[in-house]
């Protein structure tokens, strides 16, 4: 599917609009800038723009879009009013009270946990270690290893490098499926940042795999062969508590989230 010869329309459109992101994939940006047909392609898009704007004039379209948006808002308010009316006033009062007092519980029905974020640690000794936060209405909530979690929870993974210079972060779910979180792919650099608590630049959404999600950070003073680590991870199986068998010189720390399936 990923044809090397063809640049996806998504990027050519962004190029024409001058909105290629600053962190644009160099493989794409370089090709876009150097391809011989670039000016012809841009001219073609400009020509298409003119035709579309002539066929669908901006003034008329803007009016229709605004009218449509008004109808959508009106309809959604009517539907909301109808739902509330059907539920009845007592239920409405209960709903409001529940929203005010129980909002956090809507997002997290697990046991209460400490909401204190980890202290600003600039230097710790030993191997790299993991921290997890769940994104909640009330902000990020720190999780402890063993905390309950649900499918759909968004988890922020963070690490402290400690004495380690290199690390690999991955997780293994209850089906034995391995997901690599750091580096982004098997050939990426394993160099850890050492400026305190480092957040991975994405949130990880838990899926519906059963029982648990085991997160591991494997660390070392020297660069790590990610493939070998993942190979060891795939041998972990689906039992909680099994030890990972790593090449010499590597240390690891584990962090477990216990999965609760929605009823």
């Amino acid at each position: 599917m990923n044809d090397e010869q063809r640049i996806p329309d998504f990027f050519t459109e962004q190029d024409a609009l001058g909105e290629l992101p600053l962190d644009c994939d160099p493989a794409i940006c370089t090709r876009l800038e150097t391809e011989p047909q670039r000016s012809a392609r841009l001219a073609e898009l400009q020509d298409s723009n003119r035709r579309i704007l002539a066929d669908y004039p901006p003034e008329q379209m803007a009016l229709e879009i605004k009218n449509r948006a008004e109808r959508v808002i009106k309809k959604s308010r009517q539907q909301m009013a109808l739902r509330l009316a059907l539920a009845g006033i007592p239920a409405m009062i209960l709903l409001v009270l529940a929203a005010i007092f129980l909002a956090p519980a809507i997002f997290d029905t697990g046991k209460p946990e400490e909401t204190v974020l980890p202290p600003e640690i600039t230097r710790v000794k030993g191997p790299a270690r993991l921290f997890m936060h769940r994104k909640l209405a009330t902000g990020d909530k720190q999780l402890k290893s063993g905390s309950p979690a649900r499918p759909g929870d968004l988890i922020q993974i963070s690490y402290l490098a400690g004495d380690a210079n290199h690390g690999v972060i991955f997780s293994v779910d209850g089906r034995g499926q391995v997901s690599l979180h750091f580096p982004a792919d098997e050939s990426g650099s394993t160099t850890l940042e050492k400026k305190g608590l480092i957040n991975l630049d994405f949130s990880y959404e838990l899926d519906d795999a059963p029982d648990f999600e085991r997160f591991f950070v494997v660390s070392s003073e020297d660069p790590i062969d990610v493939r070998k680590v993942l190979e060891a991870a795939r041998n972990l199986g689906t039992e909680l508590g099994t030890k990972i068998s790593l090449p010499p010189g590597l240390q690891y720390k584990e962090f477990v989230l216990n999965k609760k399936q929605d009823q």
């Binding site: 990923n2 459109e13 704007l53 901006p58 948006a69 979180h181 792919d185």
Partner: protein, 172 residues
Amino acid sequence: MFDRLKEAGLAEEINVEDYYKRYGPMVMRRCRRLLRDEELAQDAMQDTFVNLLKKKSQLKHRGPSSLLYRIATNVCLNKIRSMKRRPEDTDSALLARIASLEEPESPSIARLILIKLFGREPASTGTIAVLHLVDGLTLEQTAREVGFSVSGVRRRIRQLRVKLALMEGDAS
């Protein structure tokens, strides 16, 4: 005029006409490519801008073209889901199967709260699948675009492929 839009805080920061002039053609081309029907594409294009008005808080996080492209993809998937006609080519058939695997998004309170909480709406698996399987973005490019990890995108694609395979099994 448009009191409800202003009341809802939707129209004051977005000049719809200016946005349409700049991005309308791109959105229209996107909708034409996915829907292969001029009338439906125009309808989807307008729906895309209506959705942009609702999601304007996300504009500060990413460029409008990127956000509009994803909204248009999702709007088109919803339309494909409700289409009755048979797909005419391979891409259309794949889109139809991707669309059929997901429920249409409902504007539920919970969903709106989640969007508010996380600052941007999580991309649907359908949108991810279209970017990767139909548009040809690599896993890394798709992940960067939707703000997921590469492994997260890979996992969703893997799950979707399994569902597609099962669907084909059922159909045969």
